[in-house]
């Protein structure tokens, strides 16, 4: 059998941790090969080894049957390997084209031939149906387009073997569909794809085969059409998992959050929230469904005081919290799981313990007479770590050294444990594995059942549908529909999110 890629018996260690051990990965030409594993299982590490960013301690790599020694991304490029990294590798201040040609620029005299480059980018993007604006600045484009820029980067370099590390984690359902069709057309062109994802249904939908790794060890490779999501999931976690989160019907009571005619601007001074109304009651989960960039982030930031409200009113338990300082808003009983955990959620250079009191450090018992009480802080942190199953050596460990999933669990523990009246969860499971997702979903429902109001913002329809007691669809800064999850389906939600009016059931807007 011809394999385009063979990684045999790979071992990669980091100080104090074996990220990959005995891993085998064989990719056939023209297939989409999924790589599955929990957070921290070692998927990205394995791909970074293949792409020449890390050197393995042991093992062998063959490309098109040839033994190779990939010591740098350059060599990987030359071998036709391209990679879209889990965290995008784009320079914000550059244009799309500049990002794509960076490192292999077409020249005219001494100059970068930008016009030629733009033409080429346009050509490739037309060829594969990747809609991008070659002249746009990367910082101004949506995440989905950034994703496509990353793919273009590989295609521009004429890569035949494409590695996509969790490409769908940040995409909207529509964008995911687009990506899937892009991937299919790429393999038709004879390219091979290694796809990392936590979403089993995506694997079922596009992949031909799937290799599973667990805690750094290779578990095995299966043909996708001979397996089921359940089997994949249990291979991955090593036990049975359930997908549909069990929950009782909601029993909503008093209104906790009441937003009236809210207006908020984004960083470029453009109105993003434009007269939005929203209510969340005790004991219910309200899911905000919408395509990224319709004012979700601005809405959450306005509620939490991180962004000024230009107009309208935000009431919490009938008291206005409009334009209060974030600290005052927390003190009024709001908790917030932020959407970007590295940027907002954690001080990566603080210990996990210190991060657990990031909002409450100044209150007793953590501070008495201005002095921090480290015993109290670390005891408290140990309790959260215990309760929320945060996998870390101890509470003195730096937040930076935890895996993404565990960082997220820590944040959720911190926010939930404050017993807020209103819990805002923005993309709480982004990039997490099914085990972690299951855990977090359970926690959110538990909170609801304790009588808290939960506002969920997510780009993943499944999540919104699964968890919410009520779905509010956001479009261009307004709530355009309020629907019950069991009275709607993906199809209809998708249309609403794209701005079409609702016709079937519920109150007309």
């Amino acid at each position: 059998m011809d394999y385009v890629i063979e990684m045999l018996d790979i071992r990669k260690e980091f100080p104090g941790i074996v990220a990959n051990n005995n891993i085998n990965l064989q990719v056939k030409k023209g297939e989409i090969h999924a790589l599955l594993g929990e957070n921290g299982a070692g998927k990205s590490t394995l791909m970074n080894v293949l792409f020449g960013i890390y050197q393995p301690e042991r093992g062998q790599i063959r490309v098109q049957g040839q033994d190779v020694n990939i010591t740098s991304p350059n060599i990987a490029n030359d071998l036709g390997i391209g990679m879209v990294h889990q965290h995008f590798m784009l320079v914000d201040t550059f244009t799309v084209t500049e990002n794509i040609v960076l490192g292999s620029e077409p020249k005219k005299g001494l100059k970068v031939d930008i016009a030629e480059a733009e033409k080429e980018v346009q050509r490739i993007s037309d060829q594969y149906g990747l809609k991008v604006d070659p002249k746009a600045l990367v910082r101004d484009i949506s995440v989905g387009m950034q994703q496509r820029v990353e793919i273009l980067k590989m295609l521009y370099r004429k890569a035949d073997i494409l590695i996509l590390d969790e490409p769908t984690a940040v995409l909207t359902p529509q964008e995911i569909d687009e990506l899937i069709s892009i991937m299919k057309s790429l393999v038709e062109e004879g390219k091979s794809i290694i796809l990392i994802t936590h979403k089993l249904n995506e694997i079922m939908a596009v992949a031909d085969r799937c290799t599973v790794i667990r805690r750094g060890e290779g578990i095995g490779t299966v043909n996708v059409n001979e397996t089921s999501t359940n089997e994949l999931a249990s291979m991955m976690v090593g036990r049975e998992v359930s997908f549909k989160t069990e929950k009782q019907p909601a029993a909503p009571k008093d209104v906790v959050l009441d937003i009236k005619n809210l207006v908020a601007k984004d960083n470029r001074d453009v109105d993003m929230v434009r007269g939005l109304d929203l209510q969340v009651k005790q004991g219910e989960i309200v899911g905000i469904a919408g395509v990224d960039g319709n004012g979700q982030s601005e809405l959450v930031e306005a509620i939490t005081g991180l962004r000024p409200s230009e107009d309208g009113e935000i009431l919490l338990n009938n008291q206005s919290i409009t334009n209060m300082k974030p600290r005052k808003i927390y003190e009024h009983g709001v908790a917030h799981i932020p959407q970007d955990r590295h940027k907002y959620g954690l001080v990566l250079d603080y210990s996990i313990g210190e991060n657990m009191v990031l909002q409450t450090y100044y209150q007793p018992p953590f501070t008495t007479y201005g002095r921090l009480n480290f015993n109290e802080i670390y005891n408290y942190a140990e309790r959260i770590i215990e309760e929320y199953d945060v996998r870390t050596p101890n509470s003195l460990t730096m937040a930076r050294s935890l895996s993404g999933g565990n960082q997220q669990k820590a944040i959720i523990g911190r926010e939930v444990d404050r017993s807020p009246d209103l819990l805002i969860a923005a993309q709480p499971t982004r990039g997490l594995d099914v085990g972690a997702i299951e855990f977090i979903h359970k926690k959110l429902i538990e909170e609801r059942d304790k009588g808290r109001a939960v506002l969920l913002v997510s780009f993943e329809l499944d999540e919104v549908m699964n968890l919410s007691d009520r779905i509010a669809v956001i479009y261009e800064g307004k709530i355009v529909a309020n629907v019950e999850p069991d009275e709607t389906d993906d199809q209809e939600l998708g249309l609403l999110m794209a701005g079409s009016q609702r016709q079937k059931v519920g109150e007309p807007q």
Binding site: Y54, N74, N77, L90, L110, K111
Partner: protein, 324 residues
Amino acid sequence: MSVLQEIIPSAFLFAAPLIFTALGGVLSERSGIINIGLEGLMVMGAFVGIVVNLELAPFMMENFGSTGKLLTPWISILVAAIVSALFASLHAIATVTFRADQVVTGVAINFLALGVGLFLIKQIYGKGQTDMVDAPLNSTDIPLLSDIPFIGPIFFEGTYYTNWLAVILAFVVWYVIFKTPFGLRLRSVGEHPIAADTVGINVNKMRYIAVMLSGFFGGIGGSVFALTFAQNFSHGTISGQGFIALAAVVFGKWHPLGALGAAIFFGVAQSLSVIGSGIPLLENIPSVYLQIAPYVLTILALVGLVGRAESPKALGTPFIKGSR
């Protein structure tokens, strides 16, 4: 004589060394390496420029007469630039290869340059400062251009080729940074080194080049300063110009033409403060106000006009391959 004709040449003269040095700063910082050592790089440039000039001038004048004398400062500047580039490689080794704190290494560069310069002066000349050079840079009227009415006398009469070299270099650096593949790569390294690495750009090499270029430019700046102003080398020859150049880098928002403008702004502010006491209108203002005027003006300009400058994102962070 018009006030402009008085202020501009003197401002320009003062600005030229700042422009060179600030361009170096822009290059280095664009690659992500903070360069507080600009002062030290200027010191090194001044030291080498003066010593080479002193040693070379007799030979050149003997063999090539007045052409030799004209050439001497240029050779001195070139040698100073090269030596300073080598000297700056220390900063590169420390910050790039050994991931040293860039601010602190810069401070060390400043100490080291002065220490080495004075130590060697003592070894060479047996005293703490050199004599004045015989072949300094001299002003000239630029042929043709100085005949242009109005503009000519202000910009091209009694000016220095180094002034214009500075301006031209600012445009060259601008072109290089924003138009060439090298510049694109340089900027990517300063903004997102990990991304640059994944497309096969050698981040460390780019940073070495940028820092050494900053030494090269700083060396030009220092030697031009020494060869126009003090014309000798001592502990006080370079007294803060490097820091002003650093300010010009930030003031100019890490843009070569911005740095050019900022340096000229400093030059004008400085010559206003100098000339002010000779202008009847300003004569009665206590001199301290004129002395602090350039610095106060800078602050006001930053607050009022320029506002927030966005530095290269990776500025100050060492690149560790494979880090997340």
